[in-house]
């Protein structure tokens, strides 16, 4: 009985039998990585269109990432002690990416060159690296879970 309860507690939040977190995590990763590309496109050809792309990608990433972070916080609360370690590292990286990209959104709201060049591009790269690192560590967190379940 006790074993069953522990197992249920470890089961991720899901829709039907499928966990929902892997559905949400790619949104900030893809969006924030794409911002680096649209920023670089602006550098090579300073058309406001590229800043617009960056701005919308940032917003989409923040919304997707924000929802993902909420789910992740619930997972953290539900997680057992052995699982919390790898999840926490993953969560910190995702949160850091999110905060950086909030700041980046304000920078990207500027009306032209200074929306990207300097602070904007640096934040885009930092935010993308943090998001990618978050994705990378999620794999470890997920495999740990599976290992725990198997055991």
């Amino acid at each position: 009985m006790a074993e069953d309860t522990a197992r249920a507690r470890m089961r991720p939040l899901g829709i039907g039998s499928h966990p929902i977190y892997p559905m949400l995590l790619p949104i900030p990763i893809v969006c924030f990585a794409a911002v680096v590309l649209t920023d670089l496109a602006y550098l090579s050809q300073p058309e406001m269109m590229w800043i617009d792309f960056s701005s919308w990608l940032l917003l989409a990433g923040l919304i997707g990432g924000g929802i993902a972070a909420v789910v992740l916080i619930i997972e953290l609360i539900r997680a057992g002690r052995d699982r919390r370690g790898p999840l926490t590292l993953h969560f910190v990286l995702l949160l850091a990416a999110w905060v950086v990209e909030v700041l980046n959104s304000f920078i990207h709201a500027r009306d032209g060159w200074t929306a990207v060049v300097g602070t904007g591009l640096i934040l885009s790269i930092v935010g993308a690296l943090l998001a990618l690192a978050a994705g990378w560590t999620w794999q470890s967190a997920a495999y740990d879970t599976r290992a725990g379940e198997v055991a």
Partner: protein
């Protein structure tokens, strides 16, 4: 006090440039101090809840003057034109169209702007706008004898001019001519479109200021930019940020002067062929940049927007730059300080104010949004000598902003046949009239 201050003071990324501390008087005149651009992490926003005027409340005028409401209960009066018979035309206007959303920033900005242009909660704001109302004061005692809607269902009108039996109305999308004789209280004749003006679908700066040359042969219309600093792209700025010269007979037009971000208050200096205008300069480069200005407008001149300001000071945001244009950018005549938002200009050609006012300029300053400490929200007086501005602007009509709330905001100004100053107050839904009530003014002052 529900003042909005969206600042993230705790964020280390906030760039606190040297744009914050500056002597306020250093931004008046022909050579204003221009700090380095300082773009905040979040643009400074200082907008004020609109509360309107309670019965009996008025703006404040200097000692010896008296101010009274000539008309209340209007619907966003933006501009006023005094006719030779004493009638006052009041242009009531709202731009009903909303700008397309290009970036996530746009709806946020639109919300803030709507707030500072918001109608007062009292019942004094009827919904019907976009019309021209005649205010009649037959005996010139400052009390309106009657009011009549001259024209209605216009498209966000602003500029009006009367030339040789015709009334020209600058709607946001076209100049339209109506047969009109001062004294008329209703125009039933259909208007004739003279010329299209740059308008939708963005139509960011929508007011089209209008005046006629002293001989009546040309019209001049101000067309504001479609953006703050060309962030809507260069295509959106075709024939914008410019003053156009229009032949009212043929409707043919050309760009008279360009690089003027949002030109308003187009007025010829009395007794001259010199066109003057007040210009709203760009935002989001810091609280003390870029100063708005009053300038005589030279034919064919380029005044910098968006590439540069005050001559060759480059805007760091605008890329690709246009060194060919910047090279010939000229500095304007007279800085009015940053973010004051001058929208109205009238030269004092009356006789009832004391002699020192003759030939000077009254400027309606709608007031700032891109500044924590408000600028503008008043009508200032600026003396002229030999047809050029001198000295510093003096506060003339104040008290529009009180205890962090906007009772009104001045826009267009004009001088009526009695020499009184007439002021359109859009969010206050009032037209004000200022008279000299001190010692009698000698009639023969130079």
């Amino acid at each position: 006090m529900r003042r909005l201050l969206l600042t993230f003071a705790l964020l280390p990324l906030m760039s606190c440039g040297d744009g914050h501390k500056i002597d306020a008087n250093s931004q008046f005149g022909p050579n204003p101090v221009l700090p380095n651009p300082s773009e905040q992490l979040i643009a400074d926003v200082g907008v004020y809840q609109v509360v309107g005027w309670k019965p009996g409340e008025t703006p404040t005028v200097p000692r010896g003057f008296k101010i009274e409401a000539l008309a209340t209960g209007l619907s966003n009066p933006r501009n006023v034109l005094a006719l030779p018979n004493g009638d006052i035309l009041v242009v009531e206007a709202k731009n009903e169209a909303s700008e397309p959303v290009q970036r996530p920033k746009d709806p946020i900005r639109a919300w803030i702007m709507a707030r500072s242009h918001g109608q007062s909660p009292s019942s004094q704001a009827p919904s019907q706008s976009n019309r021209i109302t005649v205010i009649r004061d037959a005996n010139g005692d400052g009390k309106a004898d009657g009011r009549s809607v001259l024209l209605s269902d216009l498209n966000a009108p602003f500029g009006v001019a009367v030339v040789d039996g015709d009334l020209y109305v600058a709607n946001t999308d076209a100049i339209v001519r109506y047969p009109f004789v001062p004294g008329q209280t209703k125009i039933t004749a259909p208007g004739v479109k003279i010329a299209d003006l740059p308008a939708g679908p963005i139509n960011h700066h929508w007011t089209k200021s209008l005046t006629a040359s002293p001989d009546g042969s040309r019209l001049y219309v101000g067309v504001g930019s479609n953006s703050n600093a060309m962030e809507r792209g260069v295509e959106a700025e075709a024939n914008r940020a410019a003053i156009l010269e229009v032949d009212p007979k043929t409707g043919l037009w050309k760009v008279f002067a360009s690089g003027l971000r949002n030109p308003n208050g187009l007025t010829f200096y009395p007794g001259s062929n010199t066109l003057w205008a007040v210009i709203n300069e760009r935002d989001e480069l810091g609280p003390n940049l870029v100063p708005d200005y009053l300038t005589s407008v030279r034919a064919g001149a380029f005044y910098g927007w968006p590439y540069s300001y005050y001559g060759q000071h480059l805007d760091p945001r605008v890329k690709p730059q246009r060194p060919d244009l910047v090279r010939r950018a000229i500095a304007p005549d007279y800085a009015l300080s940053s973010h004051v938002a001058p929208l109205g200009l009238a030269f004092y050609n009356g006789a009832s104010f004391p002699a020192r006012f003759r030939g000077g300029a009254f400027i309606g300053e709608h007031g700032s949004w891109n500044r924590e400490e408000p600028h503008g929200y008043k009508v200032v007086y600026l003396g002229f000598q030999g047809g050029r501005p001198v000295g510093s602007p003096q506060d003339f009509v104040t008290g529009f902003l009180k205890d962090g709330k906007a009772r009104g905001r001045p826009v267009g100004v004009t001088v009526d046949r009695t020499g009184a100053l007439i002021i359109a107050d859009d969010v206050g839904n009032t037209v004000w009239r200022v008279i000299w009530a001190g010692a009698p003014v000698a009639a023969t002052q130079p």
